[in-house]
């Protein structure tokens, strides 16, 4: 009985130099995205969780 064929992802079908470039680009992009999220996180962490409610007195 033949073993079922293992499906090959689109990434693995790329020629190695192209795959390497794609991997670098993807990784850079994800790194950059995480940087943006962290940068935004640092901004949001600094904001009070409850807004200031002004009451005239």
């Amino acid at each position: 009985m033949n073993a079922p064929e293992k499906s090959i992802s689109w990434f693995e079908q790329l020629p190695p130099p192209v795959a390497r470039l794609v991997a670098i680009a993807f990784s850079l992009l994800v790194g950059g995205a995480v940087a943006v999220v962290l940068h935004y996180l640092l901004y949001r962490v600094g904001l009070p969780s409850r807004p200031f409610i002004y009451v005239a007195f």
């Binding site: 990784s27 994800v30 790194g31 995205a33 995480v34 999220v37 962290l38 935004y40 996180l41 640092l42 949001r44 962490v45 600094g46 969780s49």
Partner: protein
């Protein structure tokens, strides 16, 4: 909101850097232990540290003794501590006050005098981990010999605050592997990616949804039907993003140290039935409830009636674990009922099998019904029973 503080971000960076710079496994263990102690002391304060230290010592000693009675005593003590810190006032108010308000007042006053201002940090989580540990040791599992390893199991900072609830038989080998390993950029990157994802879900999405919900909920009844459903969707998304985001941050932080924590969420809003939902939602808690409440009660081994009863009790407890309030218990029972129906509806003559065929033919129908049930259930999770009931009726235009 411990993860969303500057202290935590700087602390985590320092801890991870120090961990990987240290060359020896022993040193890494001590470094990590010191960091976990500092983390706990900073966020728990002195009043919060003492209970966990006491329970830690007790649990460790009971485990090392390997005596079943010692494990049982320690388990009872841990559960009693949880009940005291988290549920005492609720139990007095719910069970004693209706019978004797004067006695309830005295008990409340005396209890509050003994209690700290807030329950010890993460009491629900570390008690569950201790009970798991003692249960396993009692039934023959190997106890943790090293006090340092036990300390790390007890107050491992990534998972201390909000889970995932660890199993010591998975955690310790992972820790042992981590302290021996070399830092790998792939692992670190995966940890950072996971943390980034977690913060995105929590800070960018969930926190904004929270404000939207808080602004919209007071005029829920006055809003149109569409707006009410939008608010419900927002609630459902918020809790998933908030909780899974926190889990992502915990799992990612652990991954930065080379430690693998169990997954806690697996696309729960893709579930096609309620059983599937509870295998995808807060996985570490539901598996704990299954292993240490449902199965010891008999599970599904004593017929459908007992199965449903065990399930109801287990889920009532699951609900109560989330908070000391009746609506949490009702929410748990609501899901217990749903699960009971899910497990037994096929036995209903004619209609049961017919319905099963419909769900098989149209998976979307099962999915829609499951999500509708779960999402409407969130009203019970967030609001008192009467308010949740009114909101549910308003959702359906009643």
């Amino acid at each position: 909101m411990i993860f969303t503080t500057y202290w935590f971000l700087l602390f985590a960076a320092l801890t991870v850097a120090g961990f990987w710079l240290l060359p020896r496994p022993g040193w890494r263990r001590w470094w990590l232990a010191a960091a976990c102690v500092a983390f706990h002391a900073h966020f728990a304060g002195p009043a919060g540290v003492i209970p966990i230290v006491v329970l830690m010592v007790l649990t460790y000693a009971a485990g090392r003794s390997r005596r079943p009675w010692a494990c049982v005593v320690a388990m009872i003590t841990c559960v009693a501590a949880l009940c005291f810190y988290k549920y005492a006032l609720f139990l007095i108010g719910s069970l004693v006050a209706p019978l004797s308000p004067a006695l309830a007042e005295v008990l409340t006053r005396n209890t509050m005098a003994l209690m700290p201002n807030a329950p010890p940090l993460a009491v629900s989580f570390f008690v569950f981990e201790f009970v798991h540990y003692l249960f396993e040791v009692r039934r023959g599992g190997e106890p943790i010999r090293s006090p340092l390893d036990f300390l790390l199991f007890a107050i491992f900072f990534p998972s201390l605050v909000a889970g995932p609830i660890k199993r010591y038989t998975q955690f310790l080998p992972s820790l042992a592997s981590a302290v021996q390993a070399r830092a790998e950029t792939g692992e670190l990157a995966e940890g950072m990616r996971r943390i980034g994802l977690g913060f995105f879900k929590k800070v960018v999405l969930a926190d904004n949804l929270t404000l939207y919900i808080e602004a919209g909920q007071p005029h829920f009844g006055a809003d149109g039907l569409g707006e009410r459903w939008l608010l419900l969707i927002a609630m459902a998304l918020r809790i998933l993003l908030d909780f899974s985001g926190y889990s992502d941050i915990a799992i990612g932080s652990a991954r930065l140290l080379g430690v693998r924590l169990p997954e806690n969420f697996n696309w729960p809003y893709a579930a096609r039935n309620l059983q599937d939902f509870w295998q995808r939602w807060h996985i570490s808690l539901t598996s704990w409830i299954r292993d240490y409440v449902y199965i010891p009660l008999g599970g599904n081994r004593h017929g459908p009636l007992r199965r449903v009863g065990n399930g109801l009790f287990a889920f009532a407890l699951c609900g109560l674990w989330h908070g000391p309030a009746w609506h949490f218990i009702v929410w748990g029972v609501y899901h217990g009922v749903g699960l009971g129906i899910c497990a037994t509806y096929t036995r209903v003559p004619t209609a049961g099998p017919a319905l099963a065929r419909v769900f098989q033919k149209e998976p979307l129908a099962g999915w829609a019904l499951t999500q509708l049930y779960a999402w409407v259930g969130w009203l019970l999770f967030f609001y008192p029973v009467s308010e949740a009931w009114q909101m549910a009726r308003q959702l359906f235009g009643l």
